[in-house]
């Protein structure tokens, strides 16, 4: 993963970083953001800035008085719950999935329970809050995902391999942020299967009758 870091070309947008720092994104988006940041130093630094902005916004808020016994109550909380030092798991540098994604899959790429969704494409929907959805996609090398548009925002993070669409090429670590203006047909490059993490806050819109029928079955 380390060797991949320098090559990341497509990053998170500033509004997504700000939303992640503010804690206002849907959980599905948070997972894509946290996974990309695990792979991308420059977005990690950008997030630190947005956290700092949050700290300054908080400092600027008009203080609201705490209850009279608040400090004593807090000390009681501290005494009640002695420090449990949860060791931070050392990053597994050999895996395909960064830690936050491994949490949701309960393992690495080999633990994914793929379900075929047609056209050779497989997916696994990950459990999150229902204000948006997130899934792993496996697109066999050389295969196209049907031409589709978006009602809301779609984030696609490449975890392995690469895909090309009408806008550019997206390789490992790259994230494509698509909105209503984009209709695209992503095609996985020849070579390895393309594994992506894709989140959307609205159903995709497929531009053809057969894919529209398929959509009912594959739950996109």
């Amino acid at each position: 993963m380390m060797s991949e870091m320098k090559k990341i070309k497509h990053h998170l947008t500033e509004p997504l970083l700000m939303g992640y720092a503010a804690g206002t994104l849907p959980e599905a988006f948070n997972l894509v953001v946290a996974t990309h940041i695990s792979m991308c130093d420059s977005c990690r630094a950008a997030l630190a800035e947005y956290d700092a902005v949050g700290g300054e916004v908080m400092l600027d808020a008009d203080p609201v008085s705490m209850a009279e016994d608040a400090l004593a109550a807090t000390m009681a909380l501290i005494d009640k719950a002695p420090v449990i030092d949860v060791p931070i798991p050392a990053p597994a540098r050999n895996g395909v999935f960064p830690a936050p994604l491994r949490d949701y899959v309960s393992g690495d790429l080999d633990a994914v329970k793929w379900r075929k969704v047609g056209g050779g494409v497989s997916q696994m929907v990950l459990p999150t809050s229902d204000d948006a959805s997130v899934r792993l996609l496996r697109i066999p090398a050389g295969t196209a995902v049907p031409d589709h548009g978006h009602r809301g925002t779609e984030l696609t993070l490449v975890l392995q391999g690469a895909f090309v669409d009408e806008t550019d090429r997206f390789a490992t670590g790259d994230v494509e942020v698509a909105n209503e203006d984009l209709n695209h047909t992503p095609v996985a490059e020849i070579g390895a299967d393309c594994i992506c993490l894709a989140a959307t806050d609205a159903p995709l819109r497929f531009n053809g009758l057969i894919p529209r029928i398929a959509q009912k079955f594959i739950d996109i």
Binding site: P15, M18, E27, A46, M58, V64, A70, T74
Partner: protein
């Protein structure tokens, strides 16, 4: 990233110009850092010392001082984010207890105490108010140093202070937009659609500090 474009686009706006030119040249930055009011950075260094005292000596007096300053602001932030006064009170006490329990996790070369407490409060907010899990990025292979570098600590604290000042110096309409984004009154698509947000301006300073830090670590 978009930041560069934002800074360039806003270079013609009068308020952005000084930040833009300052960000371009390290020669300009040095004297500015020295002109910074000693009081305010002293305040941030004092917070760092208080957190260290909690970590190393379970110092209740130092904790009480942090509590007196930060708890009412955390409570205010949580109420503006939609918590009832009772829930905000309870949640703030938990945030401050976390500060005590996780004092060994704080790294003053990477964050100001205000930033660190904000991230604890934000995570508690997602947990309690939004009832969601919060996926966090993978930790970097290195953790906080037992003896953080004084120069790096001072640099980061100063940059955060400058960020706060840049935020305070924004026209009221722009500052309000940023506040609304952090209080959850704007979705990410609304943030994206909002052309008045001075994202490049407010962040250029601290990004430089963090970039220097990252390069120093490699």
């Amino acid at each position: 990233m978009l930041t560069d474009t934002n800074v360039l686009t806003k270079a013609d706006a009068p308020f952005a110009a000084p930040y833009y030119s300052a960000a371009k040249s390290k020669v300009v930055r040095k004297p500015r850092a020295q002109n910074l009011s000693a009081d305010v950075t002293t305040k941030r260094i004092a917070w760092v010392a208080q957190v260290s005292a909690v970590r190393d000596g379970q110092d209740k007096a130092a904790f009480a001082e942090l509590f007196a300053y930060f708890a009412p602001r955390v409570k205010s932030f949580l109420m503006k984010s939609g918590a009832s006064p009772d829930l905000a009170e309870e949640c703030t006490q938990e945030v401050m207890a976390t500060l005590w329990n996780k004092a060994h996790m704080f790294d003053p070369t990477k964050a100001s105490v205000s930033t660190w407490i904000f991230t604890i409060a934000r995570n508690r907010k997602i947990d309690l108010l939004r009832k969601q899990r919060r996926p966090e990025p993978e930790e970097l292979p290195w953790g906080p140093e037992p003896e953080p570098d004084q120069v790096e600590t001072m640099g980061l604290q100063q940059e955060t202070e400058k960020l706060g000042q840049a935020l305070a110096a924004l026209p009221a309409a722009q500052r309000t937009l940023i506040e609304r984004a952090y209080y959850g009154e704007l979705t990410h698509s609304e943030i994206a659609a909002e052309t008045g947000l001075p994202l490049g301006t407010i962040k250029s300073r601290i990004r430089l500090a963090l970039d220097r830090l990252r390069h120093a670590m490699k």
